[in-house]
Symmetry: C2
Subunit: 461 residues, 2 copies
């Protein structure tokens, strides 16, 4: 259906449904992909009922639906085209309840992670998941991609945080399962399909999440390490100390830390030349206790782990500057726009062998090739960016994908750790998800969405 | 197909498939339900390939398959009938690998929880889940019921422990997804269907589980509490102390603790008459540290939480006697065989109101009715047994079910917390799972098992 006809048909569909036109969208930022607003028609329900009315109408008229959250996705999972309807969570943005003694929150899907963190903070609580795009990423989007982030080594991923969920199915029926307890064995847990489902099975409208106590007393350090093995040993050491909790262990391989520090004017004179940097954050009973436990832990580890320098932040501002080096990870795009980037997970002990192999596999394609490598070391989640302006010619991109994905599957890892499949990681899905699993995915998609109207072409069923 | 014909057809099907006859089964214990061996034909594969061969044959001949693990299930999920084939994990009992530095284990589905705990202990590790039937319950069965147990308040349930999984689908195809990392966002995580799937979607053959460090230095106390609210406040207090970790918080309501203590000769003179008992176990850097932290924590809480007596175990033997009072929870069946029992979860703050309401709802059915109530207080999981010999007449059982389930769903809880649905909790499923979710379950079952050959009639699709 042409966008103009869609707009006319939808404009009076439901009083709690706002319809945005091409003109409305022109002034808005389409997020990480310029084609996200390709449909030029966006429906913003402010209630589950309105979302169900929209989906029911689309099902009856064979109109394709593309769910969108905060548009921070990096794999093209929200790209839309003319003739489709964008179904946005922008107005589903209420925090419905926070139960401090239960440590749970019930929110609409469009609530941003940061908004929930701020509301929970009033009760001394926070989310069990945190990630760099917290200000824009929504709970619904994080559910749909099974987001991971900084704390997954301790708290697991989004799947481990979701207690209850409500979604509109492609038929327009509403699946409402807003349990608030961790123990449920009441038949298969069908809401799991929507966690990591990337909008292929329905549109998430409400979520019940676990919360956890805030641990506000922090200390932060940047530490030089020779390799991932040393970094992991340091992680294990800090995790074994009873007086503190490890809050983050983010590793930046040498090229990333050097280039980014140079750009931001961060002094790295303390870091040995060939070393990688590990951002360590811990919490304790007080800032002083956390700081001295961090210092003592580093001192104890200095010789045995052959640490390559280190600096403990002396102020919140300094800690923020360390974090900016890690979290502003798009710094390189100004120099290498549209560079090919990847998000993989490998069993942590395989990291050093993997990174060494990657360097040589890339150089075998083109001797000038190198990558920025950084990530969540404790759970083996690496982010990689090829230092080369994109987009690459198709054949070369395929060669780079093969170089990046080599050995991961056999080692027990994944070609996509926390960003999803979307459009851009289709080749990973087709190459590394077993034929039996792909067939099962198609069978389930057929059962839920026989017309293929929900986010078609993203996860390639 | 008649059992005799089945035996003949299966006897030479695959070299790694052992077939047991009625005669073989006669000397074996059928577990918690006398009808578990009703099929009188049991196939015991010792490899995934042999299991797949059996399932392929059954699919081709329209023969029903009933998966069985350790037979500790309490809801009839493993009951089989003549003409069916029992597919047992008894010979899939190898621990395939333990990766100490990754803190993961890969096991076949028939490995018992205790066998895995013992193997992991050699590396200073243990499972993130523990439960009373550890000596017999298998990993595969725990996956299939999404088991919870003692540590779920801290570590979540089985779903949160499973990293990878392999299963034979009803078609005979093998779904192999043995990832060993926590972060995977590579399309919908279809293995979730088998966690809590109660054998309706396939037969689990291998599992990758997270492990965690052993915390062997324990201290244990029995504490008198006036109500669940006090118990939960004590739980929160102990969870906030940095020098120890809370390992268990098991509450036994007055009738349960009094009757069981009398039966086992446990002195309760320290416990105030109307009080419930809370079994608290903590771990610390040493037994001495754990014990003194436990004593200090109780002393601090004594007045503010109005504790009703307490006793800290002075020896491992005494701690074991405390645990026996909680874990030998079948003590009452000698007096009230086949008593109706339930396993529910309610948001913890709702517990006192729920238990008080339950008493009066039961007495409204029959003034002599009362229940044994005990369970995992920190996650709101209660076990309930009607103090009355069973089986009850059908209409009376329905009335008792209504009394037990009243208000749970509305409060955000579940009619089945960790035991599953099986045959016995069908009415709970039909009454409290939304029509939309039931319809979705049927659609998925149809997609995976169109002939309905896997564990039919259990979860009522």
């Amino acid at each position: 259906m042409a966008p103009q006809d869609l707009l006319e048909a939808l404009s009076d569909l439901h009083p709690e449904l706002t319809i945005l036109t091409a003109e409305d969208l022109a002034g808005r930022h389409p997020g990480e992909h310029s084609e996200n607003f390709g449909a030029q028609v966006m429906a913003q329900p402010s209630s589950t009922e309105a979302a169900a009315a929209l989906v029911t109408w689309c099902a009856a008229h064979d109109v394709t639906v593309v769910p969108q959250g905060g548009l921070t996705g990096l794999v093209g999972g929200s790209i839309s085209r003319s003739g489709e309807v964008i179904l946005s969570t922008a107005r589903l943005n209420r925090i419905l309840s926070i139960e401090p003694e239960e440590m749970t929150a019930t929110v609409e899907a469009g609530v941003t992670l940061e908004a929930l963190q701020q509301a929970a903070a009033r009760h001394g609580l926070t989310t069990g998941i945190d990630l760099g795009s917290r200000g824009t990423a929504t709970v619904g989007g994080m559910v749909s991609t099974n987001a991971g982030g900084i704390l997954a080594f301790r708290n697991g991923v989004m799947r481990h945080q979701v207690l209850g969920l409500e979604a509109v199915l492609p038929s327009g029926a509403v699946l409402c399962d807003l349990t608030r307890v961790v123990k449920v064995s009441a038949g298969p847990d069908l809401k799991q399909l929507f966690i990591g489902g990337e909008g292929a099975f329905g549109f998430v409208t409400r979520v019940v999440l676990k919360l956890e106590p805030q641990r506000p007393h922090r200390a932060t350090a940047l530490v030089g390490v020779a390799d991932a093995r040393s970094a992991l040993a340091l992680v294990r050491h800090f995790r074994s100390l009873p007086a503190l909790a490890l809050e983050a262990a983010e590793m930046m391989w040498p090229r990333y830390i050097r280039d980014h520090a140079a750009l931001k004017g961060l002094d790295l004179s303390w870091l040995e030349t060939e070393a990688a940097a590990l951002l360590i954050e811990v919490s304790g009973e007080s800032v002083e206790a956390a700081t001295s436990a961090l210092e003592a832990g580093l001192e104890q580890s200095w010789e045995p782990l052959d640490l390559q320098g280190g600096i403990v932040a002396q102020s919140l501002d300094q800690a923020r500057r360390f974090w900016d080096i890690r979290e502003d990870s798009g710094f390189y795009y100004a120099e290498i726009p549209l560079a090919a980037s990847f998000d993989i997970s490998v069993p942590p002990l395989f990291l050093d062998a993997y990174v060494a192999g990657l360097e040589s596999r890339l150089k075998a394609i083109d001797p000038t090739y190198a990558a920025y490598v950084y990530g969540h070391i404790a759970d083996g989640n690496l982010h990689l960016t090829l230092i080369k302006q994109g987009p690459l010619p198709e054949a070369e991109l395929r060669a780079v994908e093969r170089a990046v994905y080599a050995g991961i599957h056999e080692a027990g890892g994944s070609f996509s750790a926390e960003h999803g499949v979307g459009l851009e990681k289709r080749h990973g899905y087709e190459g590394f998800v077993s034929p039996e699993k792909q067939a099962l995915g198609r069978a389930l998609k057929q059962a839920l969405d026989p017309k293929g109207l929900f986010n078609p072409g993203k996860v390639p069923f």
